[in-house]
């Protein structure tokens, strides 16, 4: 427990001093601020680029369009930023040899994995919180008349958060399985592509972690009943825990 706290603190110091934390927070702040703006301005931007004499009718943007931007940005650029920032979090320590010294001093290997995962998860949660708060404030400000079901919205956001937690667990366990900084990135990418391929079969969608990051808008809009997501939520949570257990197991056997 003590080792876990010591190493957790070391991880946070690392994120702060190597600008990892700053970069990820800036990215998610930009998302948070631009999501509502883009939704609001899209019709005007479109009108501006239309050739003269041509007109299309675009429905008036709503608060839901703002949240649509939020989910789209988080699912794409947000995830990419997250994975890139954290891809070397274990593998670079192994290839540089910074961990070996601490491990010979008796640092528990399980504490390393758990502390690293908790630290990544904390940063991811903080980023989400920031982005959600900013999107929320600006949406209420720009679309004061619109109502979005808060319970549905929060559930949709939680699904996205859980998906991020799953991706981070995947990334960490990958880096205990393969060597090198890019190996873990590649393995994570492969698993996600595999999930995409599996998604072609409608019956698998009900259980796929990918559903948590692709149907958020429908959930927020109340078009999908939250109860239909429960199996995907359960599978993803269990898979994340399983991946972390696997990472601990593999790391304990790893030759350094």
């Amino acid at each position: 427990m003590n080792h876990y706290l010591v190493f957790f603190r070391k991880e946070l110091m690392e994120y702060a001093r190597t600008y990892k934390l700053l970069i990820i927070l800036v990215v998610f702040t930009i998302f948070g601020m631009t999501n509502p703006l883009i939704a609001k301005l899209t019709p005007e931007l479109l009108a501006g680029v239309m050739p003269e004499g041509m007109s299309i009718t675009i429905p008036e943007p709503t608060a839901l369009d703002s949240w649509a931007q939020f989910f789209k940005n988080t699912q794409q650029m947000g995830m990419i930023a997250l994975v890139l920032i954290f891809s070397g979090v274990l593998s670079s320590e192994l290839s540089r040899g910074t961990l070996v010294n601490l491990l010979t001093k008796g640092l528990s290997r399980r504490a390393v994995i758990l502390a690293k995962y908790s630290a990544m998860l904390s940063v991811w949660s903080l980023s989400m919180l920031l982005s959600v708060a900013l999107t929320w404030i600006y949406t209420v400000y720009l679309f004061p008349q619109d109502q979005v079901g808060v319970a549905y919205l929060l559930f949709a956001i939680s699904c996205m958060w859980l998906f991020g937690a799953f991706v981070l667990a995947l990334l960490l366990s990958s880096s205990t399985l393969v060597q090198g900084n890019y190996g873990s990135l590649l393995l994570t990418g492969l698993v996600l592509v595999l999930l995409l391929v599996l998604n072609i079969f409608p019956s698998s969608q009900e259980f796929s972690p990918l559903s948590l990051a692709s149907q958020n808008l429908e959930i927020a809009a109340g078009k999908i009943d939250p109860s239909s997501m429960y199996s995907a939520v359960g599978v993803t949570a269990l898979a994340s825990l399983g991946l972390i257990a696997l990472a601990v197991l593999m790391f304990q056997k790893k030759r350094l």
């Binding site: 070391k10 690392e14 001093r17 540089r96 910074t98 010294n101 010979t104 001093k105 008796g106 056997k253």
Partner: protein, 305 residues
């Protein structure tokens, strides 16, 4: 008491047999030079002693306790300095020592006093920069400080001086020499002058086995050959002496180079005293009479041939 005992250690990587039945003991309070060529298996031996690698056969005991792979229990007795120590570049020296101290379970106050003391010892007391700006010599010295933090009974240093400039090397050797009273130091190297400077015991590793071990004095005594070098005032004296009938024996090899005569005597019953008797009998005073001590370098070249 032996602080480190290695018995019949065997290890191979792929088809490459690095260690082939290595036996080695390190007594307490010695500075032990672990010598061998690059790739002889020095680092592998240390990593096995630290529980970082699994030996295929054999045992390692540290302070009487058996080392087992993957476990770090015996490491509480051991300080380890890797060949190229890697630290977190974004930390300051004190912060790194604090991290190490917290992992080994020292109290906050112990960490503070001990790190100040050690940073003083390694000459980094006034350095409050981040480690990323450190030179190699500074990193090596910080490496010694972190290895000594938990007051280990055994300090394992893996080629601590190999990558350093002469000043950095001297600093590191001086530090290792200064701590010899408090802890047993084992350091691997292929720089023989470093060994001669601070070690009292050496072991030479070659083809996975020890080919030479003991105290420096013992080894030199054991390998001292009955050989002498005489320099005469004139070439004439040298030639005259070399041609004496008393020296024309199969056990004696003579080598004359201008005024210098090298004499190697294979028969141990013939002593140097007889040469001196012969000199006085012939009334020749040499400029120099030297009994040849084997240098570590010549011994090393001999055993690893």
């Amino acid at each position: 008491m032996n602080i480190l005992e290695i018995k019949d250690l065997q290890m191979s990587f792929g088809g490459n047999h690095v260690l082939q039945g290595l036996d080695m003991t390190v007594p307490e309070h010695s500075v032990f030079g672990f010598v061998g060529r690059n790739g002889a298996g020095k680092t592998t031996t240390m990593k096995i002693a630290l529980g970082l690698l699994k030996a295929q056969q054999g045992e390692v005991h540290v302070c009487g306790e058996k080392v087992s792979y993957g476990a770090t229990k015996t490491n509480r007795h051991v300080g380890y300095l890797p060949d190229v120590p890697e630290f977190y570049g974004y930390m300051r020296p004190k912060e790194y020592l604090r991290l190490c101290g917290e992992i080994t379970g020292l109290s906050s106050r112990q960490i503070k006093t001990k790190s100040e003391e050690l940073l003083e010892l390694v000459g980094l007391a006034d350095v409050n920069r981040r480690i990323s700006g450190f030179s190699r010599g500074m990193k090596q010295r910080l490496g010694i400080a972190q290895a000594l933090l938990n007051e280990p009974r055994l300090l394992l240093c893996d080629e601590p001086t190999s990558a350093l400039d002469p000043i950095g090397r001297k600093q590191v050797l001086d530090i290792l020499s200064a701590i010899r009273g408090q802890t047993t130091v084992v350091f691997s190297t292929h720089i023989l002058s470093d060994v001669e400077r601070i070690c009292d015991r050496i072991a030479v590793l070659e083809r996975g086995k020890l080919v030479l071990s003991g105290t420096l004095g013992e080894i030199q005594k054991e390998h001292r050959r009955n050989s002498y070098s005489l320099r005469f005032a004139t070439e004439q004296d040298a030639q005259e002496f070399a041609q004496l009938g008393e020296l024309q024996k199969p056990a004696i090899t003579l080598e004359l180079e201008e005024r210098v005569l090298n004499i190697v005597i294979e028969d141990n019953s013939i002593h140097g005293q007889e040469l001196i008797d012969l000199l006085s009998l012939k009334k020749i005073v040499p400029e120099r009479f030297e009994s040849m001590e084997p240098t570590l370098e010549s011994l090393f070249a001999e055993v690893v041939r």
